[in-house]
Amino acid sequence: MAKQVSRRMAIGVALLLAAPRLASAQAIFDPKDWNGTLGAGAKSWIAERAKLPPFTAPRTADGQPNLQGRWGGTWSGDDIEEIPKPVDITTPAWESYVSTPANGKIPYQPWSLAERNAHREGLGREAWSKDPTKRLYYDPQAFCVKSVPRYSQRGYELVQTKDSVIMMLNWGHIYRVIPLDNRQPPSGDLRTWMGSARGHFEGDTLVIETTNLNGKMWLDSAGNFIGRNAKVTERLRLVSPNDLDYQATIDDPETFTQSWTLTARQRRQGAGGGQGGGGNAVRDPYAAESWEHACHEGNGEHEHEIQNLGFKWYFPPVPPKK
């Protein structure tokens, strides 16, 4: 065990600013090594899921399907739509996570597609911008906030009580408490980053409906977004002892032409922190513990450097009047 462990473990902003040169804590994919295949997104997982034998989740003492445990992060942080070829060393080629519609494209309306494209163009990333000096918004996640469904990109621990489901992320100490008691969400005057989540079980499936979002978060670091009036319906089902099928359906007629769904596989983790697999859990008794991820504290002055670079704070766009 290290005698001195820096509390500055969370340098999300620094890494993003310096990418692609400084990528010490991110996976590195050298585009030169690309073998022409795509990482597994919705399509591959759905094909694999179809081959699994039928599975019924074990039950908790309260008789609920038992989904408890540590679940690993799933979808790539970059672009939940298909990345047909490697963008840079932190952005490999990847299948779309969008399962509906079948073309894997988010069904934007013309205004919202233009908005998404402007987000992407304004990121200042050479691979995505005609003019990398043009800066609009920085990925809001860099400031240590999360939303639904983007939280599920990271690993989390799921705990069930008789009347609620709790999800705890190691990343940024984000959590959700999801009541199962049929209570109504608050009025639209009360909006939050993580929204207001209400859950119930349908057979083996945990269904979570989230509303009251403040709309200040993107879906990924490539500028994809949903509106503040979106309803996000997540469906979580254990399809094997160690695989959780994760689906999130977005209903947001102000922003999209139809409701759409992203689908991902979440794998059971033995180790803590979402930092990797469970291989060390046997040797390290602390591997399944969640140690502090002080995100904002670690960002420090980088937050103001982003401001000084000319990036604006992201506010959700206002849909055009019909």
């Binding site: 705990v159 709790i166 705890m168 100490h173 959590y175 980053w193 401001q307 604006k312 704070w313």
Partner: protein
Amino acid sequence: MRYRLLAAVLVFAASSAFAQAPANMPSYTPPKTADGHPDIQGIWQVLNTAAWDLQDHGARTGVPAGRGVVVGNDIPYKPEALVKKRENDAKRATLDPESKCYLSGVPRITFMPFPFQIVQQADKVNVLYEYNHTIRQIYMNGNPHPDGHIDWWMGDSRGRWDGNTLVVDSIHFSEDTWFDRVGNYHSDALHVVERYTPISPYHMRYEVTVEDPKVFTRPWNINTILYRRIDPNVELLEYECYAYQLEDSWQNK
């Protein structure tokens, strides 16, 4: 280690002096969880003014007067540490870590004027705080504190049950947090022992022993009450302190 033993003795002394319910409250045995532990789950909050000042204080603009939560009201600073505490207080507008929305540290997080929710597992007690969506995971899995020193804002917390009392031992703190808004502070040698004792379905006694031989001449104690939030629609919401601060400071606001 000598200090830790001393702290243990003081916690015992404090608990025998204060842990019994007030005279007008019958003795109370909490229900048990499925794992057989005292069930202290639910949403709790303090009803005191310790967020502003742990000690007795008068009112000023925006600050209600309050009786302190420190047993005996005295915080036994070393002389040079008392000088620093007074400097902190004088410059609190810029020096208070709360002004930068940093994680609050322990026990300050308990006194922040926001609710928090306790969720129990067989080998862990999770405390979810509305303020800055802070999580404390209090491990009861048999692992001792990891080797260190580790600079953590919220420390490393290990718990055990002493009868109906949850006892939480925390070390590995950074020196960057304070205890309140008037500059009461500690070093990275901080060692905190908290005792959560249910005394009715709706009340818990909250006792803390603070020791830090770099800053204080002896360990000292806090004794106050946590109240269960029973409002019909109560649930944890959000106070994303740093997000509001950044948004307010942005040029395109």
